[in-house]
């Protein structure tokens, strides 16, 4: 409940702050900011087609958002969802290209599992470096993202290049590997249900299982968790791999649900947007799903706002970037605010507090 309430107020503050900051830019582009926001956020939901598109573009965001939120809840700062997603896409495409005439009931689980395995594998090395050697995972997971993209490019410009056209795109995956469409004459595919199911599962594990309690303990008090006999290293490793697996499924889902082939442009930075989604959703799974829907709505709205109001559709990117900055600002402010409300020292000595203040002050 705590997370829900905090998430709701945080989201409210963020939307308000974003509006105030972006309104001048919208006016500079010659549009009424209120009309623009209606176009950005409301009108995508008013037509059946665009509302379905909102759901479609929310799929990778739900998955990467859940992936990042799970990792952050354990205090594991996985910034590598983008790379894990790309590797998941590679594995999903590989299975899809090999599937041939196999039964769909065999192939589809294989696609999802292959994506999960590849994502987890891509997350393995940074996780081991962190757990065994204490190397900061922020840097290692982040730096593996461009490496993953290079792997995709190497495949597409080499062995997987389209055999007919020579374009850097893989051949089409078998029909049995394509996700079924949920609503006829839309692009809404099975990935949406997979995303919701994974979000629900992660929510259940975190809040209702012993393993989830361990994860939460490690995330909010690693020293106390270790003191209580919880293996912090093993917990972080499990979470890191699971987080990578979920991001990998996001990649497989884009291949099997949208592109039907591996392309180098299949992710519009979904892994990075996942960080915004997780942060915006205050790391609680229900609000993470809502945040993914909000950003998807904004993406679809930005496209149509360009046509309707004659403003550059890049305003959508400006707004999304502003949302990110305002989100980080609001969360930092709330954390700071939270800190100053706490008593500075618990006993009369306050030795730790002194060191902290001095360090911050002079460096």
């Amino acid at each position: 409940m705590e997370h829900w309430r905090r998430g709701a107020t945080t989201a409210g503050l963020i939307v308000l702050g974003t509006f105030v900051i972006t309104a001048p830019f919208i006016m500079l582009a010659g549009a009424n900011p209120f009309a623009a926001y209606v176009e950005f956020l409301i009108s995508p939901l008013t037509s059946r087609f665009s509302a379905q598109e909102v759901l479609v573009s929310s799929i990778p965001l739900i998955l990467t958002g859940v992936s990042v939120a799970l990792a952050f809840r354990a205090g594991y700062w996985n910034i590598g969802a983008e790379g894990q997603l790309l590797m998941g896409a590679v594995a999903g495409a590989a299975v899809g290209m090999l599937a041939g005439n196999q039964s769909r009931f065999l192939v589809l689980p294989a696609v999802v599992l292959a994506g999960a395995a590849a994502g987890a594998l891509w997350a393995l090395v940074p996780a081991l470096l962190r757990v065994r050697l204490g190397i900061d995972e922020v840097v290692t997971t982040l730096l593996l993202n461009p490496v993953a993209l290079l792997v995709v490019m190497a495949l597409l410009n080499g062995p997987w290049a389209d055999p007919e056209t020579g374009f850097p795109e893989s051949e089409r995956i078998a029909e049995s590997a394509q996700f079924p469409i949920l609503i006829p004459r839309s692009r809404l595919h099975l990935g949406f249900l997979i995303g919701l199911a994974i979000a629900a599962l992660v929510w259940f594990v975190l809040s209702r299982t012993v393993a989830g309690l361990r994860v939460r303990a490690v995330g909010s008090g690693p020293n106390a968790a270790r003191f209580a006999g919880i293996s912090v290293g093993r917990t972080l490793l499990t979470v890191a791999l699971t987080s990578g697996a979920i991001a990998g499924i996001a990649g497989a889902s884009e291949v099997s649900g949208i592109q039907y082939r591996l392309t180098s442009g299949l992710s519009a930075g979904f892994g990075y947007t996942g960080i915004v989604v997780a942060t915006l959703g205050a790391l609680a799974m229900p609000t993470v799903v809502l945040a993914a829907l909000l950003l998807a709505d904004l993406n679809v709205g930005a496209g149509s706002a360009g046509r309707v109001l004659g403003v550059p559709s890049q305003l959508g990117d400006v707004i999304e970037a502003t949302v990110l900055l305002v989100t980080v600002g609001v969360l930092a402010y709330r954390r700071y605010h939270h800190k100053v409300r706490e008593p500075v020292v618990d006993d009369a000595s306050g030795e730790g507090a002194l060191a902290e203040v001095v360090e911050v002050d002079t460096s």
């Binding site: 270790r226 020292v345 009369a348 000595s349 306050g350 203040v357």
Partner: protein, 506 residues
């Protein structure tokens, strides 16, 4: 740098009736302290005695509730570290405020670059001059990452001096140094004293205070107990001022037939946080129904002993048999499974502040609250309600631990441990920071566990507490057992001598 007052009749800095309150605790209570040019002034006191709060106030990190600070005889308003630096006050903490990838020169001139354009050659020569003038040997071109801890400390001191400080506060400067580095530091401080500087030397280590300081001020419970010329007191006297005289008549304890030895520690050695030896060849045993008190000035190995016994630190040698099982080097899970209850000195290291009371109460025994994969939330809640009732914890099961008072946090920890009726209990500073009521409660719970036949190792900086609760005492000094005393026959002066490092007095 010009002193306006006469340095013979006016102290450089004078703290007058400084008081500071944190919640229910008076951290400083009417403290007077004067610092004269050309003296090293020791400030002594146990953890929580108020030394650090006082120095935070002097360095502008914390505002006093009452009292004033005079510099050169005139009232000064020191509201920030910058104000303190402008008033000629410098401070070197245990955690250095240095930028590791930068060079010595860059670190020293940082914040005092004197303009927008940086002239590296000139900066270097300024640092070299200062290094020569104060007799502090540093290489201006080396990067901080390449320096030893002792060298980094010299850079910190030179940084303070470079900012023209006349009062230099050193917060436990020797804690991080090797014996050789301590000699170098003392030589430097001798020179600075001779040049007319006032130096505040905060320490737990009595021999160092005896050797280095001209005057010494002892704080206890936020008050100045004594300020005296160092020549007029000895280490044992300082130790007894720090821990205090018996305040009240001791509660009578019921005699317990002590039973078999359930905890046997032999030849135990361990390294401290910085990798230096902190415990060497410690051996003792504790019988069922017995409390063994561990006395000593803090920093002499008590923390490491508690951590090793709790499974939080691997010993470098030795054995710990608890209930017949070897637990040396085992992880916390195995230690708990061997029937050891652990209450560490820092409650926040044992409880997750952002989690509920109910979850924290089960955190050591999560294997018991699974219905298969799923969390048995009814069981967790029932357990919490039961313990809240039995241990009179003033909180609900869903309250976050960080919202509780110190006394209630300690009760949560006690409840989690004691409800298991462990045969061995390792407990550190169980009443630190607690009010009188909570203190009495915690002590009576420990005595009740002794009554039930637990073997208890009690580490405390409160000598009264040790004497009141223990059957036997060991005194740790420099990681070794300096003496063993039966509590009923314990004599404070003798304990003071043992704590000051005089082994086996006549």
């Amino acid at each position: 740098m010009t002193a306006t007052g006469d340095s013979l009749t006016t102290p450089v800095v004078e703290l007058r009736s400084i008081s500071k309150r944190f919640g229910d605790v008076l951290a400083n209570d009417g403290v007077n302290l004067s610092l004269w040019g050309g003296e090293v002034h020791g400030v002594l006191g146990e953890n929580g005695a108020g030394k650090t709060t006082l120095m935070r106030i002097l360095y502008g990190l914390s505002a006093p509730d009452e009292g004033e600070i005079h510099v050169d005889g005139a009232p000064a308003n020191i509201a920030s570290p910058k104000g303190a630096i402008d008033a000629g006050i410098g401070m070197v903490t245990q955690h250095f405020a240095l930028v590791k990838p930068m060079t010595v020169t860059e670190n020293i001139i940082l914040g005092r670059t004197g303009g927008r354009i940086l002239d590296p050659a000139r900066a270097k020569s300024l640092v070299e001059n200062a290094s020569e003038r104060f007799g502090i040997d540093v290489d201006p071109d080396r990067r901080l990452v390449d320096l030893s801890v002792g060298e980094q400390q010299r850079v910190e001191i030179l940084k303070a001096l470079y900012r023209d400080c006349r009062v230099l506060i050193l917060d436990e400067p020797t804690a991080v140094l090797t014996p050789q580095e301590i000699r170098t530091l003392f030589a430097t401080l001798d020179k600075l004293r001779a040049s007319g500087m006032a130096i505040v030397f905060i320490s737990h280590k009595l021999p160092e205070v005896m050797e280095l300081t001209d005057r010494v001020t002892v704080l206890r419970h936020g008050k100045v107990v004594h300020t005296t010329e160092t020549d007029e007191v000895d280490a044992a006297g300082l130790a007894s001022w720090m821990v205090g005289r018996p305040a009240e008549a001791l509660q009578p304890r019921l005699g317990v037939e002590s039973g078999e030895k359930v905890l046997e520690v032999s030849d135990l050695s361990a390294n401290g946080r910085l990798g230096l030896p902190a415990l060497s060849g410690v051996d003792f045993d504790v019988a069922s129904g017995e409390i063994l008190g561990v006395a000593g000035v803090s920093g002499n190995g008590q923390t490491e002993l508690a951590e090793v016994l709790s499974g939080m630190r691997k010993p470098t040698a030795g054995s710990i048999m608890a209930n017949g099982a070897e637990i040396a080097g085992r992880n916390p899970n195995q230690v708990v499974a061997a029937g050891v209850g652990r209450i560490p000195e820092d409650r926040h290291e044992a409880l997750v502040g952002d989690m509920s009371v109910a979850n924290n109460l089960m955190l050591e025994h999560l294997e018991e609250v699974g219905k298969g994969f799923v969390l048995d939330r009814d069981r967790i809640r029932a357990n919490a309600l039961d313990l809240i009732d039995r241990f009179s914890i003033k909180a609900g099961p869903d309250d976050l631990v960080k919202t509780l008072s110190g006394g209630n946090i300690q009760k949560v920890l006690l409840a989690r441990v004691l409800v298991r009726e462990p045969r061995v209990i390792v407990v550190s500073q169980p009443t630190r920071g607690l009010d009188i009521g909570a203190t009495a409660y915690v002590r009576s719970e420990l005595l009740a566990m002794r009554q039930k036949g637990a073997a208890i190792v009690l580490m405390s900086e409160d000598l009264d507490e040790l004497l009141q609760l223990s059957d036997r005492l060991i005194v740790l000094y420099d990681g070794r057992i300096a003496g063993r005393v039966n509590a009923p026959e314990a004599d404070r002066d003798q304990l003071g001598l043992l704590m000051a490092g005089h082994t086996e007095v006549a």
